[in-house]
Amino acid sequence: MLEIKNLHAGINDKPILNGIDLVVPTGEVHAIMGPNGSGKSTLSYVLSGRDGYAATEGSATFDGHDLLEMAPEARAALGVFLAFQYPVELPGVGNANFLRTALNAQRRARGEAEVDAPSFFKLARAAMKALSMPDDMLKRNVNVGFSGGEKKRNEVLQMAILKPRLAILDETDSGLDIDALKIVADGVNDQRGPEFSAVIITHYQRLLDYIVPDRVHVLSAGRIIRSGGPELAKELEANGYAGMVAEAA
């Protein structure tokens, strides 16, 4: 279970999150929506431990572990996965090499046996098939020369292989055409189950047609101003953010 209490955070002393309270119970998928600049990406970075994004107040725990005190790799080993809005290119680093190294680093940290190469490739091929990705994706360098859509699918592929317990998807839908969007959504839906939770950060309601969230939260100026069921997303789609933001202010 992800529990965020009164979280204040910013970049280099500039406050961006101004007291976020959020609970995502195990097994649930929550969507966080909000206009540009509301702090959506900052929240994802604070939860995953990016340098420079420091919490100044409040707490964020996952299954009782204090996330804010942990190194990024330790959070990953705990099962927290961030699908990046802008996946980073790693020239010269093969995708398969990267994924297997990451998987085994996490397994090692958890005291689990490492996955040998044949089992890994079996696992990876199955995951790629499910995401309609060509085999050569594994041979290419991580995100180098990938189209926007390929990068996003690569993030979902990583999620499918690393099998996190908490996935944070930071605007994974941006830049995707409708076919790619469905593939990405299927990838997330496949993970859904009693042990998997997700925070889906998005600007548009579109993705939520395919991944139906348990709860929807609206973020504005670094705070959650409204929470509700999936119908809240539809309301936003119909009326926009402006009215809701004004109402909250």
Binding site: E73, A76, R100, A105, A117
Partner: protein, 494 residues
């Protein structure tokens, strides 16, 4: 893919810090007194029963050396070297007639184990019989200090007409070849260190690949400095006749010492029509300690002549060791349509200094060269790429592509790029690109958010940065090289 996986395992198995190959072996030495003069040169020559012409050649080189000055243009700094304070000859005491490997000093075999020479090679060195009909994959001419003490597979190689032996033996058994080619690529008076080597070289490897023969195995040599104050002056000569090919591997480690050790090797390659030579080096001589104390001075002259049409010489090097590296493996592209390649990774940490690169001299028509150089600087080190691409007037259609990339780790190091681009032919096309960067915070965070530790992330990004070079190495070397990169940079990012 399995090699990559194996590499990762290897990287992870590497334990913390230090120079794990820093040890020395206790073998009785037969050593000449310190100092350099004509008498020492005569001594070396007589110990090796050399013919008169070679002694004369050495003395001529010595006379030239006396008139030369140590080069000072490289971006390296060191205390003056006292050339009279070194031993120029040392050899393991010979037991009478070691006809087989069983008779080789067990201490030497034990050393190969510590050096991490792959098991199959150790087994070969230990004299394990191979199943009938199976060809060994790697032959080793091990140089222990200055004298070759073990040579394997000469009979297998001899069947195909390949000669692979210590150069001291070649001088005696194939004098016509040695006399014809020795110094033909790097003349005795070429530069200060080459002249010194020509005067006092004690041993090295000799390879001759006759017409039309593709060498059936990769040839490999491990060099090692052992005796205190023993200058190392290897001399390697590789000749490949028309249509022949060979892949030669060279790797070295050096024992930990407090005093600086001088290493001035010379490597000459000759490729005739349609011949191919691939020369790969992994160099991790002792780099000195964190304060810059000790370490090897590696002043090497390597040059290949593409004499024949369509010949090809490819240099690949991974340089992680030595206190100072001064090294420019070069290609003289004389034959029409000949090809020169230089792939290099140079890593410097702590107080290391490296000034390395290549020269590509385009003489023949349609000659082509490729240079890919990756420099990684960390600590308080300085890492310089220095390269020359020269196109002479007759080299119609010559092509060069050069890519130099520098990666800086930390703000106390230096990364420098000094290319010289000289074209005297209208139809030649030369392209040079250089970049300087650091490992980006985005890349580090991305890797860490997937579960990699900071050091593993750095290792992975650095190996990615060097990939274009590492992929040129033969597989077993690539694994060793990746491991070396990770070991070398341990603790550099913090």
């Amino acid at each position: 893919m399995t090699a990559v996986a194996e590499t990762l395992d290897a990287v992870q198995s590497v334990t913390d810090g230090g120079y794990k190959w820093g040890f020395s072996t206790d073998i009785e030495m037969d050593m000449a007194p310190k100092g350099l003069n004509e008498d020492i040169i005569r001594l070396i020559s007589s110990r090796k029963n050399e013919p008169e012409w070679l002694l004369a050649w050495r003395l001529k080189a010595y006379a030239a050396w006396l008139k030369m000055e140590e080069p000072n243009w490289a971006m390296v700094h060191h205390a003056p070297i006292d050339y009279q304070d070194l031993h120029y000859y040392a050899a393991p005491k010979k037991k009478p007639g070691p006809k087989s490997l069983d008779e080789v000093d067990p201490a030497l075999l034990a050393m190969y184990e510590k050096l991490g020479i792959p098991l199959k090679e150790r087994a070969i060195l230990a004299g394990v019989e191979l199943p009938e009909g199976e060809l060994p994959q790697v032959a080793i001419d091990a140089v222990f200090d200055s004298v070759s003490v073990a040579t394997t597979f000469r009979s297998t190689l001899a069947k195909s007409g390949v000669i692979f032996c210590p150069i001291s033996e070649a001088v005696l058994e194939h004098p016509e070849l040695v006399q014809k080619y020795l110094g033909s690529v790097i003349p005795a008076g070429d530069n200060y260190f080459a002249a010194l080597n020509s005067a006092v070289f004690t041993d090295g490897s000799f390879v001759f690949i006759p017409k039309g023969v593709r060498c059936p195995m990769e040839l490999s040599t491990y060099f090692r400095i052992n005796a205190r104050n023993t200058g190392q002056f290897e001399r390697t000569l590789i000749i490949v006749e028309d249509g022949g090919s060979v892949s030669y591997l060279e790797g070295c480690t050096a024992p930990m010492r407090d005093e600086n050790q001088l290493h001035a090797a010379v490597v000459e390659l000759v490729a005739m029509d349609d011949a191919t030579i691939k020369y790969s080096t992994v160099q991790n001589w002792y780099p000195g300690d964190a304060e810059g104390k000790g370490g090897v001075y590696n002043f090497v002259t390597k040059r290949g002549a593409c004499r024949g049409a369509r010949s090809k010489i490819s240099w690949t090097q991974v340089e992680t060791g030595s206190a100072i590296t001064w090294k420019y493996p070069s290609c003289i592209l004389q034959g029409d349509d000949s090809v020169g390649e230089f792939y290099s990774v140079a890593v410097t940490t702590n107080m290391q200094q490296a000034d390395t690169g290549t020269k590509m001299i385009h003489i023949g028509r349609n000659t082509r060269s490729t240079i890919i150089a990756k420099g990684i600087s960390a600590g308080r080190s300085n890492n310089t790429y220095r390269g020359l691409v020269k196109v002479l007037p007759k080299a119609d259609g010559a092509r060069n592509f050069t890519q130099c990339d520098s990666l800086l780790i930390g703000d106390q190091c230096g990364a420098h790029t000094v290319p010289y681009i000289e074209s005297r032919n209208r139809t030649a096309k030369l392209e040079h690109e250089a970049t300087t960067s650091k490992i980006s915070d985005d890349q580090l965070f991305y890797c860490r958010s997937r579960g990699l530790s900071q050091e593993d992330a750095v290792g992975m990004i650095v190996n990615g940065f060097c990939r274009d070079v590492l992929k040129e190495l033969p597989m077993e070397f690539a694994v060793e090289a990746q491991k070396l990169l990770a070991v070398s940079l341990e603790g550099s990012v913090g």
